[in-house]
Amino acid sequence: MCKRIFLSIVLLYGFFAKAQYPGYTLLTNSTVFKEQFAAASLKTNTIQSDFVQEKNLSMLSEKIVSKGKFWFKKENFVRMEYNQPFKYLMILNNGKVYIKDAQKENTVSSASNKLFRQINNILIDCMKGSALNNPDFTARIFEGRQAFLLELSPTATNLKDFFQHINIIVDKKDYTATSIEMYEPGGDNTVIHFTNKQLNSTIPDALFTIH
């Protein structure tokens, strides 16, 4: 009897998991994925790409689209340069966050701001392949035909205010993130798509310099 109930629960769980993300199935054993993900991440030292960011405001039926360039360099360097429809620059450099908008520039130490540090870590983790080790989230892994979907649900209370969950779509070819989807509790979401990716190209350190 117990076996039947257990089997029903597993089947039901599998059914809902499958229904949650069409084209994806929940990985019940993620060991192989984790090994391959870690191995591929070890080989990736830099990522350079274009990006398109979509902010979807569900209740307003509105979408805010912005575009720019993205650079990542191990271990903890990220540069996001928004070019359209506004200019905005964000550099993450070993725990410091530099922000430059059309009027001002500002540097914040993420060490002094827990929330900044946590959000900072999400982006770095997505690129470094260490997203599954972040203690602020629990993870489920789904497999599709061409990609894996990593669903991260926040455990930290302050992050729950911002995110219902974060999905990272990982390309099966090179195990790098093709998009990051951030879902808010109110139903809105922000999706960042990375295109024209170049792995391990030479990226000068100067791009991440914070003055």
Binding site: Q53, K55, L57, M59, L60, E62, I64, V65, S66, K67, M80, Y82, Q84, P85, F86, Y88, M90, D101, A102, Q103, K104, N106, I119, D161, F162, M182, E184, G186, D188, T190
Partner: protein
């Protein structure tokens, strides 16, 4: 020298006097204001906020909803939402979302009043009156629950020069909406007079 205290008293009285008391009340149709009411339709603004030495930037989306209410959503450039407010013409106001760090009564009240001023909400024509100053500008006055909202317009009713929210004695907030295109201002500026708080909006083309 013995008149010094009296002169000082007079100066302080003058400094305290309302700038509106010297204006002449005239009979004029207050409906002129309506033509400057912006029809926000999912309009996106690049936004800079400076408040007591702190700088914040982001994107402000203003949209008139099918029920004629207006939603204002402010997000950071990277997508984090700061607030989402709803305004309706019957003085209704709803907070759909506000970041915990901003969730303070004074902050919400200030933002609400500022946006009501520029969206020209709560301006019932039956309560309105018009003042004229020496430069021949017309001050369309709309008494609020507290204070008065003024829309300063040229004599031909062809240009909205500025907006003011005032207490009984002085101007509390000054605002401008300039470079109208298709009924929408390209730039909006809000400046508080009693503390260091400014909001600057520059219209963006949505892609």
């Amino acid at each position: 020298m013995r008149y010094l205290p009296f002169i000082s008293f007079l100066i302080s009285l003058l400094a305290c006097s309302s700038p509106y008391t010297k204006m002449q009340k005239i009979s004029r149709d207050a409906g002129c204001v309506q033509k400057f009411r912006p029809a926000f339709d999912g309009t996106l603004y690049n936004t800079k906020v400076d408040v007591v030495g702190k700088h914040l930037s982001g994107l402000l989306l203003i949209k008139t909803m099918p029920d004629s209410s207006t939603r204002i959503v402010f997000t950071s450039e990277i997508g984090f939402k700061f607030f989402d407010f709803g305004f309706s013409h019957d003085s209704g106001f709803k907070i759909y979302y506000i970041l915990k760090q901003m969730d303070k009564k004074a902050v919400i009240k200030t933002l609400r009043k500022d946006f009501e001023l520029i969206m020209m909400y709560n301006i019932p024509m039956q309560d309105a009156y018009v003042l004229k100053n020496k430069e021949n500008y017309y001050y369309y006055a709309f008494p609020q629950e507290k204070g008065i909202n003024y829309y300063i317009i040229d004599s031909a009713c062809s240009q909205l020069l500025s907006m003011e929210r005032s207490s009984k004695r002085k101007v509390v907030v000054e605002a401008v909406m300039q470079q109208y295109h298709n009924g929408l201002p390209d730039t909006i500026g809000i400046t508080h007079k009693n503390f260091n708080f400014t909001i600057g909006l520059k219209r963006l083309e949505k892609k």
